[in-house]
Symmetry: C2
Subunit: 206 residues, 2 copies
């Protein structure tokens, strides 16, 4: 435990140290950086962070972060109601939006099932997804979670919840990434890409 | 430029993005982490940072960060006035204090001369150092700056300012680091360590 010459500095370092990926040494570097900024700049910085947490809203339909009651995607008349893409958090929404390949809407779970981190199904917005299916004219649920053990577990749990709901349940294609050299692909991915091979014609004009 | 679904989120990300070493992607990760914490925790976080900048004090003698008018080192009667160690910032004070090899006091410049960053001698607490020499019974000034081009420039500038002041000006020994293998030492360091070789007896009982 290092000793700091100031309690104010020690407290700020302890707080910065709570951020993921920020150790004591980086926290000290960040604190010294902040001390070199103007009082107005640092006050803006701190207030933007406090406001983020205290004033943030979530879309009442898809639970994505939003300043409005209903987010821009859910309220967009060009987006179709028939497809719902289930994702872990806002980063995945942004990643899929960047592809411009999805015209449906999202459902943000707010995490994935992870017994190690103490996150179970009841901590996620699964009940809200099922209510949405019963309310709206949803035809297909696309499970777009990470291909990790936790993602697979969550996918399977969701599949069991959804299979009697009269919706098609699909998941993202797994296979060789664009630009990858075959010899460096891992066995599992390569094996799945053979099992789930697609008609060559379907790759045209994409 | 990514588009965020919330202005509050966008503003918090822009602010986190100003921190050194934090890109847009990391800023988003940090913002999502903060959203998962309680309101009380995030408020404490933001307030600790604002208070750091608005309430911080610097020791009136050595300009180290301090909650008191005079810092714990300057007010410690066991520390001698005859030696002043000149450093760039508080991290260097902490590093030297950790060695427990220095009984004198410090003078924190608050930076080093760096024309690239627009930092000149007048931005540093050099005038205050000279006033200290004229006021106190200082016998030796130890220049303990980084051995970079900026550090060397600052050392030389300080040397010119101090050489008529009737104090001994010394600087940290440069040489092979403890535990280093000789064959991997760079030429400049190895060359200096030969030129500045020391009596073997002086390495006993250290």
């Amino acid at each position: 435990m290092e000793e700091y010459p100031s309690k104010l500095l020690g407290k700020a370092i302890d707080q910065l140290n709570t951020l993921p990926g920020v150790g004591k040494r980086t926290a000290l570097r960040l604190a010294l950086f902040l001390l070199r900024q103007s009082k107005a700049e640092v006050t803006d910085f701190g207030e933007a962070i406090i406001k983020l947490r205290t004033d943030i809203n979530y879309c009442k339909q898809c639970y994505n972060i939003s300043d409005e009651e209903i987010c821009g995607i859910c309220s967009n008349p060009k987006r179709i109601d028939e497809q719902i893409c289930v994702v872990e958090d806002i980063r995945d929404v942004m990643a899929i939006e960047n592809t411009a390949q999805f015209r449906g809407k999202y459902h943000v779970l707010g995490g994935i099932i992870s017994p190690m981190d103490g996150i179970g199904p009841s901590d996620l917005r699964i009940e809200e997804l099922i209510q949405r299916l019963e309310r709206d004219s949803v035809e297909e649920v696309i499970l777009a979670l990470s291909t990790t053990m936790e993602g697979d577990t969550t996918n399977y749990y969701l599949y069991k919840q959804l299979k009697d709901k009269n919706v098609k349940v699909s998941t993202l294609a797994q296979g060789i990434a664009s630009g990858d050299e075959l010899e460096f692909a891992d066995e599992l991915t390569l094996g799945r890409s053979i099992i789930n091979r697609i008609p060559y014609e379907s790759t045209f004009a994409k």
